[in-house]
């Protein structure tokens, strides 16, 4: 691996590759493209990338296959999966398989840049301290996480409290405001449930970890954004929901464990 490049974009649709390339170039980022999962893996052999943006539905090797294979080969770069088959299931599965985030196609330049900025920030954090991921709040028993994007905790009386993950907050540099859905709105697992606007004006969409109706939106946290910044697992929660099918939602969250964590365990085992 001769050099570290910015972004590798993998998609079997030329117009998507060109569009993404144009946007990233406009932001001063160096972009390589690949037209399929297999060529993407070959590209990874030649260069290291700070970020990989990969389509899910591809002929030769799909996005999940690419993600698994690149991890197996020791690649640690954040992978953002994208799909035109924009269902909640695809989104959840992407995060569960260890993708950094998921974007539904079609996306605007701003939507794309928001996730790219966060992924690049994450990449920088990794580069600064390869041994440890950013601080993780102690994992309480009843907390279910959706990747490193959001979390949900069931309460005894049948409600669910959801919030944003610390890594999601840490990779946004400077929180400006948060936009929450109103009480009574129905949130769907795997789709955006809140938008956090960063100081650079980008709007970052937070993926909802469980489906349900909003009983309470945490207005205090919305008014005082530092609550989310300081204690995203506690005082900085976002919503209290009446879940529609909690068992099903949680089952979606408990399938395979995070490959990044696995990979780290594996690495530590080898070094020691």
């Amino acid at each position: 691996m001769s050099s570290v490049r910015d972004i590798l974009v993998i998609d079997d649709e030329p117009v998507v590759l060109q569009g993404v390339e144009r946007i990233c170039r406009g932001e001063g980022l160096a972009v390589d493209t690949a037209t399929g999962g297999v060529t993407g893996l070959q590209q990874l052999e030649k260069h290291a990338y700070r970020l990989i943006l990969c389509d899910i539905m591809m002929e030769d090797l799909d996005g999940f296959g690419f993600l698994a294979e690149s991890r197996r080969r020791g690649n640690r770069s954040p992978v953002v999966l994208a799909s035109g088959y924009s269902t909640g299931e695809n989104a959840i599965r992407s995060l569960q398989c260890g993708a950094f985030d998921y974007v539904a196609k079609p996306f605007t330049a701003d939507e794309l840049m928001a996730v790219i900025r966060r992924a690049l920030n994450y990449s920088s954090l990794l580069a600064e301290n390869p041994e440890a991921l950013p601080a993780t709040a102690p994992r309480a028993e009843n907390i279910h996480r959706l990747g490193r994007v959001s979390w949900a905790a069931s309460k005894l009386e049948g409600t669910v409290v959801i919030g944003v993950d610390d890594l999601f907050v840490n990779t946004i540099q400077g929180l400006r405001s948060v936009e929450l859905a109103p009480v009574g709105a129905y949130l769907v697992q795997g789709t955006g449930c809140a938008t956090i606007v960063s100081t650079d004006g980008l709007a970052h969409s937070v993926m909802c970890p469980v489906s349900g109706q909003v009983l309470q939106a945490h207005a205090e946290a919305a008014a005082n954004i530092s609550m989310i910044e300081k204690d995203p697992f506690g005082a900085g929660w976002l919503y209290r929901l009446l879940p529609s099918d909690l068992e099903y939602s949680f089952r979606c969250l408990t399938f395979p464990s995070d490959p990044i964590d696995q990979w780290q365990v594996h690495q530590k085992g080898e070094t020691s």
Binding site: V15, V16, G84, P106, F107, L156
Partner: protein, 620 residues
Amino acid sequence: MIRKTVGRKLTTAVGLTVLLIVSAFAYVNIRSHEESLLAEVERHAIQISQTVKSSTEYDMLLNEPNRIHEIIRRLGEEESIERIRIMNKAGKITYSSDVREIGKTVNSRAESCSRCHDVDPPLERLEMRARTRVFRRPNDSSRALGVITPIYNQPSCWTADCHAHPKSRKVLGVFDVVMPLAAVDADLRVGRIEIVVFAASAVLALSLITAFFVRRWVSEPVKQLVAATQRVAGGDLSQAIDETRRDELGLLARSFNHMTRKISEARLQLVQSDKLASLGRLAAGVAHEINNPLTGVLTYSSMMLRRARTPDEQEDLKVIVRETIRCRDIVKSLLDFARQSVPTKRESNINEAILRASSVVERQLSLSRIVVMKDLQPGLPHPVMDSNQMEQVFMNLIVNAADAIGPEGGKIVLRSSAVSLSPVGVVQIKHAVCPKRHNLIDGEVRFEGKPSIRIKARCDGQEGFIHFDPVYGNAAHRHGFICDDQKKAQFVCPECSTSLVSEGRTCPRCGGPVLTFEAPPKGFVETCTRKKCGWQRWMDIDAAGDREFIEIQVRDSGCGISAEELVKIYEPFYSTKGAKGTGLGLSVAWGIIDSHNGSIKVESMVGKGTTFTVRIPVKP
């Protein structure tokens, strides 16, 4: 080929049975008829024999053969007598109505002699019955009846002057009377023919009657059923057969119609899910295919928008971005529609949900010296419900009950039962609109947690709102101002001021004006405007009749809830437990029950305890 139909089989069986019975009857009848006729002839013959015997006896003793000949000849002329003769012991015919045979000797083996002379030595005494014989005459083979009367020796015979008979002889000779049976036989023939004709017509008539009723009661309905089965097999499920009959075939017809209805429902569902599945595949393909080019459009246009310098350019590009995002939303909603997830509500056992809920908290409760008693009715119908949510409801109610009991311990009773309730006082009006389809439901004012129906009233120069209890038949109306029932008032939609009062309609109970609003999708609700009356009618719901509910009660022996607190318990974040509770338990329970079209009711006495009653409709 003749098919072996049930009708034919039954007709044949009935015909054969009748034939058998009538034949047996006819046989017995003919036999008894014959016997009685013969007995009559026999009696007659014996009587004649006796007459001849007694009328000739004197002449014999006087030895006057000519007189005897004369008597015999005269008797022989009688139509009912064929022949009378007297034979001596040797078989010589001494007297006869047939003069030609006088003096001839009859063989002792002849039919008239055989009774006694068949044995050797011949019988001297003959039983009365054995004296009679029926034989066929050799000349025309017609039947005749003969009666032999022996003439026994007696003192007057051997002491008579003629000395014709010695004392040693026992039998001197016999009278032989023969009577023709032609008339009797003719009578019997007619009787036989009559009986055969009667038997044949009985068999025919019964067979025809059986065939007629079998056709009417069995063949026709079976034919209909077969035709309907073939139509169903051919795919036509719309045909129903006549099910008005009250017999087993009517039952079969009802059952058949029920089956076709169920099949057509299932088929509809299948077609629907099939449609959804193919729509899903189509949508998945379309979403993927369209979203890729849309990505091109959206990335380029949004990028150009970021770089646009002049306001005109910005405006144009904003339109492109906005419309492309609209396309994205359309594709997304298509995808969402096609991928409607399977409903989480399904037919479930509510007792199991109660048991699961109580088992979660039971251990904790036993530590707090709380006894949970369960009185769950077995075999309850399975309501369509989300059993996880329902379990949550029961858990919240049990936890609340336990908290009300406190540290000194107590008792919680869980009861479940099936109830059938009239819709009045039970069914909630969830949607109400004015003729211009403005929403009349008001979530601000609630009756036991249920959003009320808000209607604007104008009366006596004042204007205000009336809130109606959304439960059908409940007369709890809240008036925002005072208006005398006797004054003319207007009731209008709060949005468009369209009058809701039905002109010309009056309340059947109090005669007051009636207002009407639509309760989609279930027709119209009429309600009396007078606050003291409370009359309401909802035709569509009334027509549906009583509804089946599962009723679950959670009763505790706890501290109870005061009247002031009772009105607030379903409000979110209202808690009496201080820092211990979130104040959401009951509002969550209320929300879940509401989404199941059920109801929750609370009764409480401070210091005695509280009972929560949940009712879930069996059919949603």
